[in-house]
């Protein structure tokens, strides 16, 4: 299964729409609720980051029997120092982002805590690519089908 959504930079009224759709699809697919929650928390934080920092981007999800793979690709300023950005509390967010309840420097660490695997690649001045992988063990699939 493959789905893809566009994300508008700066449009906070739509921030979270893609992650909401992803949650609905995973629920319909019978994925374990704990895995769904961890997946959408990671994707939502990443989606908010695109809205907050980038000009725009896209989020895609592929699901097969073994894993959920979510890729977020944006066009924007990129991240100059990824290690620094991963530090809890480090933030370059604007006042507008903070007024929305984000921008406290927790997004990337929340993503890392919830994803089974998180990969971030960024080119300053061009954009950022975030990949979130979640394992779907056979046991979890069998449990969710009962």
């Amino acid at each position: 299964m493959h789905v893809e959504y566009n994300i508008e930079g700066g449009d906070f009224t739509r921030a979270g729409y893609a992650s909401s759709q992803i949650k609905k699809i995973l629920k319909q697919s019978g994925v374990d609720m704990d895995i769904i929650r961890r997946t959408v928390v990671a994707s939502y934080e990443a989606e908010v980051n695109i809205v907050a920092h980038a000009h725009g981007g896209a989020i895609s999800m592929e699901v097969d029997e073994n894993q959920i793979r979510i890729v977020l690709q944006d066009v924007g300023p990129g991240i100059e120092d990824i290690d620094k950005a991963m530090e809890e509390g480090y933030s370059t967010a604007s006042c507008a982002v903070r007024e929305m309840g984000f921008g406290a420097g927790m997004g990337l660490s929340n993503m890392k805590k919830n994803a089974d695997m998180l990969r971030i690649e960024s080119e300053p001045g061009k954009g950022t690519r975030v990949e979130i992988l979640m394992g779907l063990g056979k046991e979890e699939i069998l449990r969710s089908k009962k």
Partner: protein, 114 residues
């Protein structure tokens, strides 16, 4: 504690989910920072917040939080009510501060997460 008891204690009003007054919460968490809310893993959480915007509702949706109290007289917009309705999230508006809201509910036996 049931939603109807929360409404009574806080002298508050339900603006979304009127028909679900028997929904019961186990614990409560107060924050205006949505990234803090997204770290929660508990079920049946009540969120107490002074942050009233669409991202508050989205955050609750992602965290499986089904009940929000807006303190400090913050109002839910029609868009927020519509989004909460789609996701079975109960919205309560209360004129008390976050501190007073939390204190009254704590005194009445609602447990904290941490």
């Amino acid at each position: 504690m049931k939603v109807k008891d929360i409404v009574k204690i806080l002298d508050a009003r339900i603006v979304c989910g009127e028909g679900r007054q028997d929904y019961a919460i186990d614990v409560a968490f107060a924050s205006d920072l949505m990234s803090d809310v997204l770290t929660l893993k508990n079920d049946h959480v009540l969120l107490i917040t002074g942050l009233a915007n669409l991202q508050t509702i989205r955050t609750a949706e992602m965290s499986d939080i089904n009940c929000i109290v807006f303190a400090r007289n913050k109002k839910a917009s029609p868009e927020m009510v519509a989004l909460a309705g789609e996701n079975d999230i109960i919205l309560i508006e209360c004129r008390y501060s976050v501190f007073r809201t939390s204190g009254l509910l704590y005194q009445a036996g609602v447990k904290p997460i941490y």
